[in-house]
Symmetry: C2
Subunit: 322 residues, 2 copies
């Protein structure tokens, strides 16, 4: 029915974000519950209780629920494979846990970046497109690919490791152990390491050196971004260099897949134009086909609830009569 409500949730290392939406994707309620890193079933039961509490009126109007989770998720079976951020959840049957907690209801499970991409596709920056690539910049760098309106999960559900495209064989060390991965340039670990290196360069601004000295291990990409926004040249150089590397990866992805748009999401992406302008310059110079050189590279629109919103959309469509 058109006014049925669906819920989506996004399991992170510390909490589970959830959103309830109607058929138009309008969000009716949002919230979160803590993640128990050792007890997926308990966490999902807590999620079900929280959803019942926020649903205005009769919670039985909930017809479907979708769950997004970091790690390798098998949408067909609902099982979670390797998940570095949630080791205690590895191997768990997320689909079964949803049905145990919610009763006889339509369920869908997906990888968190794939769910965020699907949310952007249905209700955000990818509306109206059938072919999309998304890159999520955070501590690590995740990715997702949508072809002809369908998420590409690949063999053994291993697709989307865009963060480990190798951009330079002898590049900086990546947390994965290889060198020169996109993540080594654009993940926050790599970005903050480069931020500290820049303070040792003779051309570093005084404000930059002061930031690095005063923050020490507490340095964040937001603090770097604030300096960039204030016009600091060293901060801007940091984001410009990372944006160029992001652009190298985006240009390669456009060359291979020719998506209609590329969506950049995640925390680090909040540095916005300082990142995206050099990224777009690289796309303009490194994409082969004339028609694709101005492929829009756009920021995500849905913010931290993107994956929950996308999981809800996937659940709604899993329950739709074909």
């Amino acid at each position: 029915m058109a006014d049925d409500w669906v819920a989506g949730a996004d399991v992170g290392g510390t909490n589970v974000k959830f959103a309830v939406s109607d058929a138009a994707g309008r969000v009716l309620a949002r919230g979160d519950v803590p993640t128990d890193p050792a007890a997926p079933l308990d966490t999902i039961q807590r999620l079900a209780a929280a959803l019942r509490a926020v649903l205005p009126g009769d919670h039985k109007r909930l017809t479907a629920v979708g769950l997004a989770c970091a790690g390798i998720v098998a949408p067909a079976t609902g099982r979670l494979g390797r998940s570095p951020n949630l080791p205690g959840w590895q191997g768990s049957d997320l689909g079964g846990a949803l049905r145990a907690a919610f009763g006889n209801i339509v369920t869908a499970v997906a990888n968190d970046v794939n769910a965020a991409l699907y949310g952007e596709y249905r209700h955000g920056a990818g509306r109206g497109c059938r072919d999309l690539v998304m890159i999520a910049l955070g501590t690590g760098v995740g990715g997702g690919v949508l072809i002809d309106g369908k998420l590409v999960t690949g063999f053994a559900d291993g697709a989307g490791e865009i963060g480990h495209m190798t951009l330079e064989l002898e590049g900086p060390l990546c947390p994965c152990g290889n060198r020169g991965c996109l993540e080594s340039y654009c993940g926050s670990v790599g970005l903050l390491a480069r931020a500290r290196q820049l303070a040792a360069a003779p051309e570093a601004s005084a404000a930059w050196c002061e930031l690095i000295r005063s923050q020490g291990e507490a340095l964040t990409t937001s603090a770097c971004h604030e300096l960039a926004a204030a016009g600091d040249p060293t901060a801007r150089a940091l984001f410009a260099a990372a944006g160029r590397r992001l652009g190298q990866a985006v240009a390669s992805l456009i060359n291979v897949l020719a998506p209609e748009r590329v969506i950049i999401g995640g925390g680090v992406a909040q540095a916005g134009e300082f990142f995206l302008v050099p990224c777009r310059d690289m796309v303009a110079s490194h994409v082969m086909n004339d028609e694709a050189r101005d492929t829009p590279v756009v920021p995500a629109e849905l913010g931290p609830y993107a994956a929950a919103t996308g999981a809800a959309a996937l659940a709604r469509e899993a329950g739709a009569v074909p």
Copy 2:
């Protein structure tokens, strides 16, 4: 009908290769006609005459014909866009030309590497897989992607430019004007340039220096391959270095798409194991997910008629009652 025959043809810069096959993909006849670089319609009429001549018995058993062509092909409209090797064919309506030459018959048109990939998918190295990536090594480096049994053509039919993934921002100059593209390492132009450079290195073998000196501008990758097969260390180093770069690109593609297999085709690929062993080593060390590290990287099986065979398969399926 199960024993209907279909024809496929592959338009190259100098000739059009054709193949007639039955429903099982068994090739019943093969041949070629010269390409008129200025007259697509004449060429296709010559193709139709040649096909009628080789068909045993009544040519009316031909129920569909597919055409593969280098360049940007729009499968939906049958029109050829930019095509550097066939500038005189740019903008021509290949689908219309097929119908003019063959009468009321089912037609399909595709980019040549996409057609070759489809041929390998239906009848060659990709049989039984639904998700494949193909890289065709020749003068340039082409590519194709198949997801869930469908060719990915992308926005403005621009997908598949795998040869222009950037593997090193400051790498060797590519014919496209950028640096460090896969093609700059693995296309025959780049490979032969590197071959000549190696002769100047102090560790170059005597046989290698003699080959480079005696062949001059006539040097071919086959001649380099013969020396590698004979055990020459410099020749082997040439292919090993190119194979590592091929592996860097293949590993990135596996990280992004997780295909079931990666197929390497084209002339340079005939250097076979000298190329593929270092390529597979790179895949094993640079693919993120354990399950995907041994993704098979295999040589193409169908040889120079792969694109014609694939075009025939596409035409057969275009005509199939759903």
